[in-house]
């Protein structure tokens, strides 16, 4: 119960912050409307903000709150991701501008065991944004990836161990 109340207040304060940014009017009337709206929307949405964990055999199902993120650790990760995105774009640009177009597309799968669904969402989006790989499908914790080149595939899922990005997301969520 206390957990739910914390989640509710986190969500409604984020929503209120966005209201202030968007409205830009700081008089009492608009702030009041914003506060009431944020509280009502947080109440409407609270019913679907709890998600159950990705099932792995042998581990009991847990409930996770969607907005319960490691906010402080997220910023360094986002900075790293931006830099990776720039590198990915330079790679793709070089491939596009190269007349021979040296690509060798392939589809492969790899597995990353994490129980928090939000972590899976962040990992899948990061994969789509970075060098030459897009997430085609995620079933429980098996990722189907389409890679543009051989080296892109190897950097995400090397033959031994695990790639840099899954490891980083895992550390982000302590899993």
């Amino acid at each position: 119960m206390r957990e739910k109340l914390i989640q509710y207040s986190i969500l409604s304060s984020i929503l209120f912050l966005f209201w202030v940014i968007f409205s830009g009017k700081l008089d009492v009337k608009h702030l009041m409307i914003g506060a009431v709206t944020a509280l009502v929307i947080a109440w409407i949405c609270s019913s679907f903000l709890q998600v159950s964990s990705v099932t792995t055999p042998g581990i009991p199902v847990k409930e996770y709150a969607v907005f319960n993120l490691p906010y402080l650790k997220l910023f360094p990760y986002l900075g790293w991701l931006l830099w990776e995105l720039v590198k990915a774009n330079v790679d793709v640009a070089l491939l596009v501008l190269n007349p021979q177009m040296p690509i060798s597309p392939q589809i492969f799968t790899f597995k990353k065991t994490m129980s928090n669904p939000v972590a899976h969402m962040i990992l899948a989006n990061s994969i789509t944004l970075t060098p030459g790989t897009i997430t085609v499908d995620v079933q429980e914790d098996v990722y189907t990836i389409h890679a543009l080149t051989e080296s892109a595939a190897l950097s995400l899922a090397p033959l031994a161990g695990e790639g840099d990005m899954p490891a980083r997301v895992g550390r982000l969520f302590n899993e």
């Binding site: 793709v92 640009a93 597309p105 989006n125 944004l129 085609v136 389409h146």
Partner: protein, 99 residues
Amino acid sequence: MRILAIFFLMGGFFFTTVAALGVIRFPDFYTRLHAAGKGDTLGIALSITGLALYHGFNLVSLKLMFIVFFIFLANPIGTHVLSGAAYKTGIRPWTGKGE
């Protein structure tokens, strides 16, 4: 500040052009998706960041940054949904080994 903004805008325009070129040039659906998903995200995000820098710090540039954030969240999801739908429909990827 202006110079940085113009640099960002030029970079964004370059990546958007490359994305469009890639969408036209690449041989099959999935590879085109690579160009669209990455080039467009970075191109548009860079351009809007440049415009926000150009505008200076106020509520409008905060809104512009929120649009950038939304694009970063939405574009990969769109790419993922498109590729997943195509994969489940049964479109096989081009592997370059002759057909």
